[in-house]
């Protein structure tokens, strides 16, 4: 594992959080790809960041960027990652809010937006696959199946994400051999 410089961290976060539509989950997948490719984080660290950011109030991707920045470059890394992940898109939102009435009537704009969201959905599904993949080994498969079954059932029943996450944690804790994952 190597650590990025502060400049590398900030640049990577700024690039990956401000170039996709469809929400922060897409950005998280882009960040995962870039940071693991450079050897800055591994799959375990990514999973931990996702778990923590899911339990943090507010926007998931911003919490992810804060944990990423804090883990790799301390408080300054966390604050700068948070700033570059939230400020540029906020400026764009501000500008668009001013001119929205004109833009939303253009069919081409709506079509382009829909295509962008479709691409984003594929990235989100890829992100889910990368999270679940380490748990598909024979030792952890039962845990993965049990937690997934409970999570899917709760999602179908309309439970909030936080309740789904708590249920996942509870089911995983209740299963035998919690030390199975080394």
């Amino acid at each position: 594992m190597t650590r990025p410089t502060l400049h590398q961290l900030v640049t990577a976060v700024a690039l990956d959080t401000n170039r996709t539509v469809g929400g922060g989950l897409v950005s998280i997948e882009l960040l995962r790809r870039r940071f693991t490719r450079h050897g800055w984080i591994d799959a375990d660290a990514h999973g931990l960041f996702v778990a923590v950011s899911r339990f943090t109030p507010g926007t998931v991707v911003l919490a992810y960027c804060v944990t990423l920045g804090w883990r790799l470059q301390g408080w300054l890394g966390a604050l700068l990652a948070l700033t570059v992940a939230s400020a540029p898109c906020s400026v764009i939102i501000f500008a668009l809010a001013v001119t929205l009435t004109q833009i939303e009537h253009f069919p081409l704009v709506r079509t382009l937006l829909a295509v962008g969201i479709l691409v984003a959905s594929v990235l989100v599904l890829a992100s889910a696959w990368h999270l679940i993949r380490p748990y598909l080994s024979e030792r952890l498969r039962v845990r993965a199946l049990a937690v997934t079954a409970v999570a899917v059932a709760l999602i179908v029943l309309g439970a909030t994400p936080v309740r789904v996450l708590f249920a996942g944690a509870l089911v995983s804790c209740l299963l035998p051999s919690p030390e199975a994952r080394q």
Binding site: S53, S86, L125, L131, A151, V164, G168
Partner: protein, 136 residues
């Protein structure tokens, strides 16, 4: 509407939600129904802007802040969106400290697996939404 009030109201909404759009019901309650600072149409426009721009879906609160209080309101919206993320640092420190305990490791594993299930749900919702827009 005063920017400080906008910040506090939006912060209340973002601090009590755990996903980008999760704050929407609280935002509507405070800005549309209670204070009447934003209309339902403006709230819909804010959501559309949030969907149309890069970055987190929760960015719609910046547009809500703008509609409620001009550019100072937009700044308040940005701060209200960013502030809750700082809670992640103490949370991460606690999790990391106790991660060697098997039960904590199992709980974190459970959260990660459940996150994947939630992601599939979000991905499918996004895809359906996009196909609907394309076929409209």
């Amino acid at each position: 509407m005063n920017a400080a009030v906008i910040y506090l109201l939006l912060l209340k909404a973002t601090m009590t939600s755990f996903a980008g759009m999760g704050s929407l019901p609280q935002v509507r309650q405070d800005f549309v129904e209670t204070h009447r600072a934003v209309s339902d149409e403006q709230l819909s426009q804010a959501v559309l802007v949030g969907r149309a721009t890069p970055g987190p879906l929760g960015g719609y609160v910046v547009a809500v802040g703008y509609f409620a209080g001009g550019w100072p309101g937009a700044v308040a919206g940005w701060l209200a969106m960013a502030t809750p993320a700082l809670v992640a640092i103490p949370l991460f420190a606690v999790v990391q400290r106790w991660l060697h305990l098997p039960r904590i490791r199992a709980a974190v594993d459970g959260v990660i697996i459940a996150s994947a299930a939630l992601l599939v749900g979000s991905g499918v919702t996004l895809a359906v939404d996009a196909v609907r827009q394309l076929t409209r």
